[in-house]
């Protein structure tokens, strides 16, 4: 428990410094009552860069689940002949894996008075139509009325539209369109959610595999450890992106296949860290004490050693997310990523670079800026967490 003892001392120090303005009684009281994790959280909050990054990223990710009612080509509300329709909200309830809870969002154009349009209603046109007709029918569009998949508004066969342009008085294209005339802003926004979700899936899965394996290797040691170590060394030396590419080209790429394939290579990191931690912790006195009073092994592993071994892997988590995002964008860029219409940053970049001499710069800069922004936020969070968990304080003589 050396580490937490050390951090106790350090955090007390910090606490004392912070609470100098408060009454002395209170500060001592606080320092005693707070658990180590509370103190870590307090320290994290004092590291503004990481703390604000966490708030921004969490709120953006939370907001991204409401994208269907914020960025969509379907109307929020349509009032037509005294009945109301809420197609965008039905999209919102179309949850991945579970399915459309609120029923299909499909409403044909004819139901809403678009004569001769039996397919999906074109809500932006409908809005104009209702405005011109002077009835009490109305269409309320989302904040940004384009979805990431439609590529219809093409002017003279030209599909690429630069940022901040629009055709015939329709809503402005904030960040232009891509090679299929799809909206870049919309694709970027949906791509954010895809990227973060993907990286979180990979990071959590790699922990679920890596932590128990690494723990078992470290605690039990012996032949199991030795063979696993060889295995890990082999796995570690493999040219990983190449193998991912080959595997992805064997099977048809889907979101979860890609998660699985990346996890296959990513679990090594947490496993190695857990192994080192458990190897170190098992020789401590408290483990010997637990063994001697007959605590079952699984309890020693989970209740005693695990809580003392979590620091490095918790601080590693944001960096695992960074790795996941980068890997996804890289694979998408190479064309081995998510299946075709999925809004992805890497795919936009590859289109932009293909046409690099034609000046479609926004296709490169927009998704990469979004990626940089996200990665930097996550890295700052990681740096903040690392510092909050780090009991080391460097002092220097002058």
């Amino acid at each position: 428990m050396l580490e937490s003892d050390l951090s106790n001392i350090v955090f007390n120090k910090i606490k004392l410094q912070q609470d100098k303005n408060m009454s002395e009684d209170k500060s001592i009281n606080n320092a005693v009552v707070l658990s180590i994790n509370q103190r870590r959280w307090r320290k994290f909050k004092t590291l503004k860069r990481g703390y604000y990054s966490l708030i921004i990223l969490m709120s953006l990710y939370f907001l991204s689940f409401f994208l269907p009612i914020l960025v969509n080509n379907k109307a929020l509300v349509v009032k037509y002949n005294n009945s109301y329709y809420f197609p965008a909200f039905r999209d919102l309830l179309d949850i991945p894996l579970i399915g459309a809870v609120g029923g299909s969002s499909f409403t044909s154009g004819e139901t809403l008075g678009q004569i001769g349009n039996a397919s999906e209603c074109r809500y932006r046109e409908l809005q104009q139509q209702f405005k011109n007709s002077n009835s009490d029918n109305f269409v309320l569009m989302p904040l940004y009325p384009y979805n990431p998949f439609e590529g219809t508004d093409v002017k003279d066969g030209e599909k690429f539209m630069p940022p901040l342009s629009s055709i015939n008085g329709s809503s402005i294209r904030l960040l232009g369109t891509d090679n299929n005339a799809r909206d870049v802003f919309s694709r970027m926004a949906y791509g954010f959610q895809v990227s973060i979700s993907f990286a979180l899936f990979v990071a959590i899965l790699e922990y679920l595999i890596g932590v128990p394996l690494g723990a078992a290797m470290g605690y039990f040691g012996g032949k199991f450890d030795l063979t696993m170590q060889r295995f890990i060394e082999i796995w570690h030396s493999l040219p990983f992106l190449f193998l991912v590419m080959i595997l992805v080209s064997i099977f048809d790429s889907t979101f979860f296949l890609l998660v699985a394939v990346l996890t296959l290579f990513a679990w090594l990191g947490p496993a190695a860290q857990m192994r080192a931690q458990f190897l170190r912790e098992k020789s401590r006195d408290y483990v010997a004490a637990a063994i001697s009073i007959g605590v079952p092994t699984w309890q020693i592993l989970i209740k005693h050693i695990l809580p003392n071994s979590l620091v490095p892997i918790i601080t590693f988590f944001p960096f695992a997310v960074v790795g996941g995002i980068s890997a996804l964008v890289s694979l998408d860029f190479l064309g081995f990523g998510l299946p075709a219409p999925t809004p992805s940053w890497g795919q936009m970049v590859s289109v932009g670079l293909e046409h690099v001499t034609d000046g479609y710069w926004w296709l490169v800069l927009v998704p990469l800026s979004a990626m940089f922004f996200t990665l930097i936020l996550v890295t700052f969070i990681g740096e903040g967490i690392r510092e909050a968990f780090d009991p080391k304080v460097f002092s220097r003589l002058r």
């Binding site: 493999l238 001499t357 490169v364 940089f372």
Partner: protein
């Protein structure tokens, strides 16, 4: 100590075999291999001439031809045998010919052989000379017996035979060698650049710990860490190479079209001109870890007791830092030197793709797309060997420069 490194060296053997076996199996199991592509091409070809592709195509490709193709690519043997052949510990069919009895047949290296009626194979010019390394098999095809002679030898990566590329029809080693200089140049420039910058920056950051300079440089370093090199490369490519912004640098490639006509000095300039952006992209991602390693290592040492003692003795600050603290702080940096080997294969196909550089990464990437296994295997072998030996050499260097470290 010696025992330790000997054991490490010996342990590379199973690791090497494991790595190559995994890659071998995965690659060979992937569909769309050369055999399938070949067969499909032949079918298509047959189909075009006869006008009806699906029916006529099936007919134009007899099973014998497929057998022959299989033999050509080595797919007539089980996977594990193929692997052993590739390693060079199992006999490989080096040459194979269809022959008739008692008929001369010209084989490789200008010799002629002849199969006698009693199935012995002799040198056609000297009938008494029986050739042991040649074998003959007889096959009964539709009542007609056809003979095939073949010569076997041990020839694989262990004997230095990496095979021929199926798309380029050239030895793989030649292809890789041709692309090596670019990678090495990138590697060495990147290595020198990152070490000088990172060590200096790390020292400055440590000496001014918690200052504004430290804070801002940390921010930049972490940004550089989180961004993949190729993505940064794509951004600077668009910003500094295209007409949309500031077209200062050349768009892709690593040398000018007229590179070979330039004078020596101009050649260097031209190379440098083409190298600026890719080098930035290439070095950037490694910056963070090295800088922070240097900073933390120096900070760690500066808070040690021996530094306190040195100060207490009245030694000047400069001397304490540069002579006492630095000598110990540079150890972990120096230990990274083993990865210098990495410059041999300093290729990142993502960066090469962005800057259209024809390097090893690009070669391998295209080989994967084309299922050109020999190139993929060769790349795997080189990269595995570099990783394995890199880490051993790093440990060796570490133990040499730091007398306190004892490996057991």
């Amino acid at each position: 100590m010696f025992d330790y490194f000997l054991r490490r060296l010996l342990l590379t053997i199973p690791t090497f075999i494991g790595c190559t076996l995994v890659v071998f199996i995965i690659v060979q199991l992937a569909p769309g291999g050369p055999l399938e592509t070949q067969i499909q091409n032949l079918r298509k070809g047959g189909g075009e001439t006869s006008g009806n592709s699906s029916i006529a195509g099936e007919q134009t490709l007899p099973p014998q031809a497929i057998e022959e193709l299989k033999r050509f690519y080595g797919f007539d043997k089980p996977l594990i045998v193929r692997y052993l052949i590739w390693l060079g510990v199992w006999k490989r069919e080096a040459e194979t010919y269809n022959v008739k009895i008692n008929e001369r047949r010209l084989v490789g290296n200008g010799k002629s052989i002849l199969v006698k009626g009693d199935m012995t194979i002799v040198d056609a010019d000297n009938l008494a000379d029986v050739l042991d390394q040649w074998n003959v098999t007889a096959e009964n095809v539709n009542g007609k017996i056809s003979y095939r002679v073949y010569r076997e030898e041990y020839s694989g990566i262990l004997t230095g035979n990496f095979g021929k590329s199926w798309t380029y029809r050239k030895p793989v080693i030649e292809l890789i060698k041709a692309r090596m200089p670019v990678s090495i140049q990138f590697g060495i420039i990147g290595f020198i650049l990152s070490y000088t910058v990172c060590v200096y920056l790390g020292i400055q950051k440590a000496l001014r710990h918690n200052s504004k300079f430290d804070f801002f440089s940390s921010t930049i370093v972490f940004i550089a860490y989180s961004i993949p090199g190729w993505a940064l490369g794509a951004v600077i490519l668009v910003l500094f190479c295209t007409e949309s912004f500031f077209p200062i640098f050349p768009l892709g490639g690593f040398e000018d079209k007229f590179y070979n006509e330039l004078s020596f000095f101009d050649k260097i300039l031209d190379r440098a001109y083409h190298f600026v952006l890719p080098t930035i992209a290439y070095t950037m991602s490694g910056f963070a870890s090295l800088t922070m390693l240097m900073k933390n290592s120096l900070l760690d040492n500066l808070s040690q007791d021996y530094i306190r003692t040195a100060f207490a003795k009245g030694i000047r600050e400069k001397r304490v830092i540069w002579l006492h603290a630095m000598r110990n702080s540079i150890i972990p940096i120096g230990a990274n030197i083993g990865y210098l080997f990495g410059v041999l294969l300093a290729s990142n196909y993502l960066i090469e793709k962005v800057f259209v550089i024809d390097g090893i990464g690009m070669l391998t990437f295209e080989a994967i797309l084309a299922r050109d296994y020999p190139i993929v295997f060769c790349y795997t072998v080189i990269s595995v060997v570099i990783t394995l030996f890199g880490s051993i050499i790093s440990d060796l260097v570490l133990s040499l420069i730091d007398a306190r470290i004892r490996f057991k």
